[in-house]
Amino acid sequence: MKLTVESLSFSYPDGPPVFENISFSLAEGEVLAILGSNGTGKSTLLNCVANQALPSRGQILIDGIPTREMTAVQLAQRLAYVPQMHHPMFAYRVLDVVVMGRIAYLGALRGPGSEDYDLAMEMLELMGVAALSEKSYLEISGGERQLVLFAQALTQQPRFLVLDEPTSHLDFGNQIRCLEVIQSMAEQGIGILLSTHFPDHSLMFRHKVCVLHEGRIMATGPAEQVIIQENMERIYRIPIQVTKDVATGRMVCLPQKGDSKR
């Protein structure tokens, strides 16, 4: 299965285009990270891919079928989407939140059965947060909530996963733990599209990277080929050193103080 984005453009009514002519494809088991400065339309792009926003031109295909022709249920069985921040209003039990991932399989009016709860529990265990299952969704931390939402998305048993800045609200350690979880999900054959503000993360986990700049794709390819000084300085408009860390042998981005007008 393949997720293909074909010459996608998006503009608000009577507004300039947010992005134009974006094309890429994502295979199962692959992680594609979208890098770009604030306001380049990363979230809008992901929203379009997840059918949350309507592109003004272009289309998204899953296995050759345009997602726009799919019903909400058909799309949900193939693609799950975890938005950036979730502010829940009601104190659902964590397990009840996770089991909602089964809605696309339950038909119009049926509720989840014990096998659905089994699967939800299994996914919570896979995310390492099974202990939270009986807790209130309002009383767990932001990092835990992220993992619970991953478990919910996995309970949907999708082929593709769209994650909007999955690491942005997590602490230093949770960021890496979260990325490890993403890696393991990809290893199980799920294609993952995510947006991020951390080029180092993509270098560390050898993501495929797509650099979005001023509404267009500036570069696409393996992290080490794309995350280079020239590209990083252009999109973030600060001096950035991309060097090999001696201790770990890994490429890292080091932002420098100063001339921010570049």
């Binding site: 059918n51 949350q52 009601f90 949907q156």
Partner: protein, 348 residues
């Protein structure tokens, strides 16, 4: 698989919730039976049960005809109607609170009550009969919600917040219309009639009027109960629901439609009764949790029980009946305050 070991608490939660629901069913039936005997013409419980059973089984009549008439022709339709109204308002409130992701929403958020109030006042002003008042209230109640729904379309957005805003606008319009009608009404006869109607009462419910509303109300309530799993997803957020595979705009339309039908019909047979639709879902959430799977049936049961209990007070407290809309406010506001205090962590 280790997940099996985690199963007991889940099942436990399930049976606890179920037990709470069964207690509510029994509570409702007990209050219903007791209420049949309560009133200015008191009937002993054993006679109440005998009179009811005599309609099914042949029995020797050991009670007088007045007793039977009071129970079967006056109180039974009133209690059945009160149960339907209470269940409808609470169910519509719980449904709207989930759909709007806002626990402070009540069933009249989209203008159904102001529309119905306007319709009833118009019919009273034009000197229409009881039937005309009900039809006019129903028509304008539904029309107000349709207006709010299409007003949001004019805003070119699908956000639920804009729908609330549209409801506020429509409510404001019909409230002003109602004030205009009150201003025009004859202060000696029509104006008091309008005021009384707006305060709400179950007194005018009889079997003929009940006969025409029972089926659509039960259909609407049943439909809302069937939407409970979708409501769970919708209450997480529209985007979340969409990505879980819920057709958000269609589900919203269905919920609005069902909630409006049952609220509008309730209002047209009982007048505007506030607070039930706001407070009962909170009480239910406190007792069975936020999962709509249990919250919706619990709200309906508690709503029905609460309204017939309040109607008992309305009937018994003084020689002249107190309008029930006043009582729901007086009893509802302190309960709501307590609920807010208990839930302030979630609400702020």
């Amino acid at each position: 698989m280790p997940s099996k070991t985690k199963f007991p608490p889940i099942n436990q939660g399930k049976t606890q919730g179920r037990r709470a629901l069964w207690i509510m069913v029994i509570g409702f039936l007990a209050v219903f039976l007791a209420s049949l005997g309560i009133g200015r013409y008191g009937v002993a419980p054993d006679n109440v049960i005998k009179i009811l059973l005599s309609k099914v089984f042949p029995m020797v009549h050991t009670w007088d005809a007045t007793m039977e008439r009071v129970i079967l022709s006056v109180r039974l339709p009133r209690l059945l109607g009160g149960s339907l109204v209470g269940a409808s308002l609470a169910l519509a409130g719980a449904g709207f609170q989930g759909m709007f992701k806002n626990p402070l929403v009540s069933p009249d958020i989209l203008g159904v009550s102001s529309g119905a109030g306007f319709g009833a006042a118009l019919a009273l002003l034009l000197g229409m009969g009881a039937m005309g008042i009900q039809i006019s209230a129903l028509f304008f109640g539904v029309a107000a919600v349709i207006a709010a729904y299409f007003l949001r379309k004019c805003f070119k957005t699908s956000s639920t917040l804009m729908l609330v805003l549209a409801g506020v606008i429509v409510s404001g319009f019909f409230s002003s219309g109602l004030s205009l009608l009150k201003y025009l009404a004859d202060p000696l006869e029509t104006l008091p009639a309008i005021t009384m109607w707006l305060m709400g009462s179950l007194a005018s419910i009889d079997f003929p009027s009940l006969g025409s509303v029972t089926f659509p109300v039960l259909l609407g309530c049943g439909g809302l109960l069937l939407m409970r799993w979708k409501l769970n997803a919708l209450s997480l957020g529209d985007r979340e629901a969409q990505s879980l595979g819920v057709n958000v705009s269609r589900s919203q339309l269905i919920i609005i439609l069902l909630a409006t039908v049952i609220t509008a019909i309730s209002v047209c047979i009982s007048g505007t009764i506030g607070w039930v639709g706001l407070v009962i879902p909170h009480l239910a959430r406190f007792l069975v949790g936020v999962n709509n799977n249990r919250l919706l049936p619990a709200s309906a049961l508690l709503g029905a029980t609460a309204l017939i209990l309040l109607d008992d007070i309305a009937r018994c407290l003084s020689a002249a009946e107190i309008p029930i809309g006043i009582l729901t406010g007086i009893v509802g506001t302190p309960i709501f305050t307590l609920m807010i205090i208990r839930q302030r962590k979630t609400l702020s």
